[in-house]
């Protein structure tokens, strides 16, 4: 199967996925219930219980799960920097 791309760039080269602030997270799991892309994993017996299992499944520029978080424990990379990085990688790939 061919590798997933976003705007012509291999998805694996784009750093875009939620970061969990464990000091705030209260394990309500609203984000897990929301995300249809299996980005998160819940580990019942482990600490922390919630982890980012599949960061590359996360849709680049989507931050919808953060909008379900009542304690504001989710953050994402900077969009402007990410866009710049995508442009740089596209240039690199064009030159190859």
């Amino acid at each position: 199967m061919s590798e997933t791309t976003f705007m012509g760039v291999p998805r694996s080269r784009i750093d875009w996925s939620p970061r969990i602030d464990y000091a705030r997270c209260n394990d309500c799991m609203e984000c897990v219930k929301f995300c249809p892309h299996q980005v998160y994993e819940v580990r019942e017996a482990a600490t922390p219980k919630l982890i980012i299992k599949n960061p590359l499944n996360c849709v680049v520029f989507c931050r919808a799960c953060a909008k379900t978080c009542g304690v504001d424990a989710l953050s994402f990379p900077d969009k402007i920097q990410t866009t710049q990085r995508i442009k740089e990688i596209r240039k690199e790939l064009e030159g190859q």
Binding site: V60, A64, G70, K79
Partner: protein
């Protein structure tokens, strides 16, 4: 005469976080200043006849304390049309206000409530004094369709550019309209509310220009282009369902004055580029 509209206010009135207390304080303040009526969310759950009637008589203002959006969800369950809404935690963050852990309303909370009430009333005054005229855009387009089972997805064949996040942009001179594609509106299901950005907001490419709330989720509108917001679709205030019904025409979201479209264009797709991506997304979704 009071220039401000009297609302029907649905605060979350939550006891789980400090922000819940701020919604209560705001509701009380607005009731005193404008003669607005307050809906008690707890009573509303068990006895709704009187409140349903009240909610139909005046514009509804929903005050959520946090992103759990209990008040918005209650309004959705009761089938109420929301005229305006505020999320206190987001407002606090934007204003650099740190609401403490204490559930009692303290000075910071009271001051924030006052500030937000004043800002809301000021916005109402400005809104009633001016209306942002949108530029004339074509109203009919020719579409290509892709069907999967009972679902039919439309994509306009020319004039539009798309982002891989399924938003579109239609450029007209140095202005552009932005909206969501047919595919995205169908994925979101019925749109209940569009929170537009303030007119004048500057946005970078892929920055946020408002949020869309459906029964399923709250989603930010990812702007396919950089620019300054010059108009918002005011028809969506009363008819957010236009986003579902005609996503490429009457369901447009915002109008921008473009910053540098040639540069933005690099990361956008035309019909020929977007249509195969749409088909792949539909096929993958249906294969699950």
């Amino acid at each position: 005469m009071n220039p401000n509209p009297a609302y029907v206010i649905l605060p979350c009135n939550g006891l789980d976080k400090a922000a819940g207390g701020v919604t209560r304080e705001m509701a009380l303040e607005l009731a005193e200043q404008t003669g607005s009526e307050i809906l008690c969310p707890v009573l509303y759950r068990v006895a709704d006849a009187r409140y349903n009637r009240l909610a139909g008589e005046r514009p509804l203002l929903v005050l959520d304390g946090c992103a759990t959006r209990c008040a918005s969800k209650l309004a959705g369950e009761k089938g109420l049309k929301v005229a305006k809404k505020l999320n206190i935690s987001e407002e606090a963050k934007q204003r650099g206000v740190e609401l403490g852990e204490s559930l009692r309303l303290d000075e910071t909370g009271r001051a924030l409530a006052k500030t937000l009430v004043a800002a809301l009333l000021e916005a109402d005054r400005v809104e009633s004094a001016s209306s942002t005229a949108a530029t004339a855009f074509p109203e009919h387009f020719e579409y290509e369709t892709y069907q999967k089972d009972k679902f039919l997805f439309r994509v306009p064949k020319s004039g539009f550019f798309f982002s891989e996040n399924d938003f579109w942009v239609f450029v007209n001179g140095n202005r552009a309209r932005v909206g969501m594609t047919d595919y995205l509106q169908q994925s979101l299901s019925d749109v209940l509310f569009f929170t537009p950005p303030p007119v004048g907001t500057a946005v970078e490419q892929f920055g946020e220009v408002g949020t869309i709330e459906s029964a399923k989720a709250v989603m930010e509108v990812v702007s396919p282009v950089a620019g300054k917001v010059v108009a918002v679709n005011q028809a969506l205030d009363t008819s957010p369902e236009l986003i579902n019904q005609t996503p490429y025409e009457q369901g447009w979201l915002v109008e921008l004055e473009l910053a540098d479209f040639d540069q933005d264009r690099e990361l956008l797709l035309d019909f020929a580029g977007y249509f195969p991506i749409l088909k792949r997304k539909v096929d993958e979704f249906h294969a699950k």
